[in-house]
């Protein structure tokens, strides 16, 4: 039952991770890359940007050159979790009480973080909320996982995306090769977030987008007499099924075409789906690359 869609409602992300990752042993990318780790693999020449602590000082004394120890188990790939926590992400499921897009995004990103931690990758978190960007720098280990989970848990969906300039200035993390997983509803496209993702993709990072929708959005199934307002905009809207379905299809067709064009794989997921299922689809997609 916990593997079902209701799991994403759970506030305890540890519990979500434990249940979703049970039997989901494989990682998100091939981990047999060289990097920092326990088992020594080889030395390589120091390059600017390498951490000083990985420099082998004894070898420096002997050879008068900087060498960096490389280990086999760890990878160089940093996993960046990008969470869109704007007001529109508070959209609730109309069929499952207590479940909304932000909770679902938290659950999926927490699982990805946990997988990254298991396979020794560094992972960080970028939260876009209320016109601000908060970055948790990438690091490895269980403590980092707890930091990230705490950060995820305290994130509330408010406000708008940061503007493009503010977001661009935080893309410094993209120096080393990274895997970037962005969970959003992508209702704004183009948007500062979409521009940042495409830019990262052009910098040859592995960028993946998780498009979160609700079942009601997919079915265009809302009360026809009710009035609606946009949590990120102004004005009143009356429901018209045909208009809604047409506008939605047009928008997401554009989004998909655009992301395909820039080689950013996008997985559309309904938040009523089981998180494990979505995660598996996301990893399978990754495996294809």
């Amino acid at each position: 039952m916990l593997a079902s869609s209701a799991l994403a409602r759970t506030a305890n992300l540890d519990l979500v991770i434990r249940h979703v990752l049970a039997g989901l042993g494989h990682g998100i990318h091939a981990g047999a890359e060289r990097g920092a780790g326990v088992e020594f693999s080889e030395y390589r020449a120091y390059a600017p940007g390498d951490e000083w602590r990985r420099v082998d000082w004894k070898l420096l004394a002997r050879a008068d050159r900087y060498y960096v120890r490389e280990a086999e188990r760890d990878s160089h790939v940093a996993v960046w979790l990008v969470l869109d926590a704007t007001a529109s992400m508070a959209e609730p499921s109309r069929s499952i009480d207590g479940l909304d897009k932000i909770a679902y995004a938290r659950a999926v990103l927490a699982c990805i973080g946990a997988i990254a931690q298991r396979q020794g990758d560094a992972f960080g978190l970028v939260v876009l909320t209320d016109g601000r960007t908060s970055v948790t720098p990438a690091a490895r280990g269980p403590r980092q996982l707890h930091r990230i989970l705490a950060q995820l848990q305290q994130t509330q969906p408010v406000g708008l995306l940061p503007d493009a300039a503010a977001l661009r200035s935080t893309l410094y993390f993209a120096r080393s090769p990274s895997l970037i997983v962005a969970a959003s509803d992508f209702l704004d496209w183009p948007s500062p977030l979409s521009e940042a993702l495409l830019r990262l993709r052009h910098m040859r990072h592995d960028v993946r987008a998780l498009l979160l929708q609700t079942q009601a959005e997919c079915d265009a199934d809302f009360a026809s007499g009710a009035a609606f307002r946009d949590p990120e905009g102004e004005g009143m809207f009356g429901f018209d099924r045909a208009v809604y379905a047409a506008a939605r299809d047009t928008h997401f067709d554009t989004v998909r075409a655009h992301s395909r064009q820039h080689d950013v794989p996008m997985l559309a997921a309904r938040i009523e789906q089981a998180p494990a299922e979505v995660l598996r689809a996301l990893l399978r997609q990754a495996g294809r690359r």
Partner: protein, 315 residues
Amino acid sequence: MNGLWWWALPVVLLPVWWHRQRRRRVEAAPLATARFLPRSAPRQLRAWRWMDVLLLLVRCLLLAALVAWLADPVIAWRGDTVLVVPGGASADKHAIEVPTNDAIGWLRAREAQWKPGARITVVGPQMMAAVQPHLRHQVELKTSTPPVAMQSRHVAIVSDNPAPWRALFGAIDGPVRYVIDPAPSAKTDLIIWGRPATPPLALRAPMWWIVNQAAFPELLQAPLVDGIQSIENEYGRLWTSASWPPQDADAARMLFETWHHQYYAPAPYVAPQQVLAADPSAPLHIQGGALRDKLLMALVALFALERSLAHVRQR
């Protein structure tokens, strides 16, 4: 007429209307994908909310009091009552002292103030009504006759033959005593003039009985009413009759009755003790004004309160 003011009572709804606040917009549910929907005009929600309930209440009361003041309602609030006519006395502390001897007439004008079934007792010399009074309440007359006050009237007989007149006034008994003055004075009520000469101009009296018409030949041209010819001149009212002095008791009584009837108010006749049964079909006279003072005070107090509350709200 005053009762028509009650139709103005719906003005009380005006503050209710003013204090009603319409919520500006329809409660709109947030929907992330609302941007895919056509825009609609903000709809007004027909929700009633109340602002400043205390002020609203005071304003409604103020208007209601104003309408009531204009309508001047009469409320039946008196129960069993004792009415004391001047000259009567009652041990009841709540007895009402009626200003006239006609307590029944006084009561009839205000009868709407008494509750149905209330019994009313009239104490004192209630005067006898000309017709049997019909009231909606039972009225018990506990009348008492006051001692008759003696009155005296001064008569001056200027005649060569005063004996028949003296005999006439001497024969009269009753509450009025006639004093025969030796000569006319300022106190004289009646002068009987039997001389042919015209009296001196300084002599004045309200009533002259002229026995010898030679003194006032113009009297003979005056019309004859009930056997009396009468004129009014600078001396006063002059009467004459060819049959004077009256020759028998009936003629004398007739003369005195005519005189008193025309120039003196009749002495009130005290009604006998009796119980006037309630007559539900009797007309109910409504005399307002009983609550006007209280309503006016309430109006002033409510107005002051309303102004204070409105001032507090504005700050």
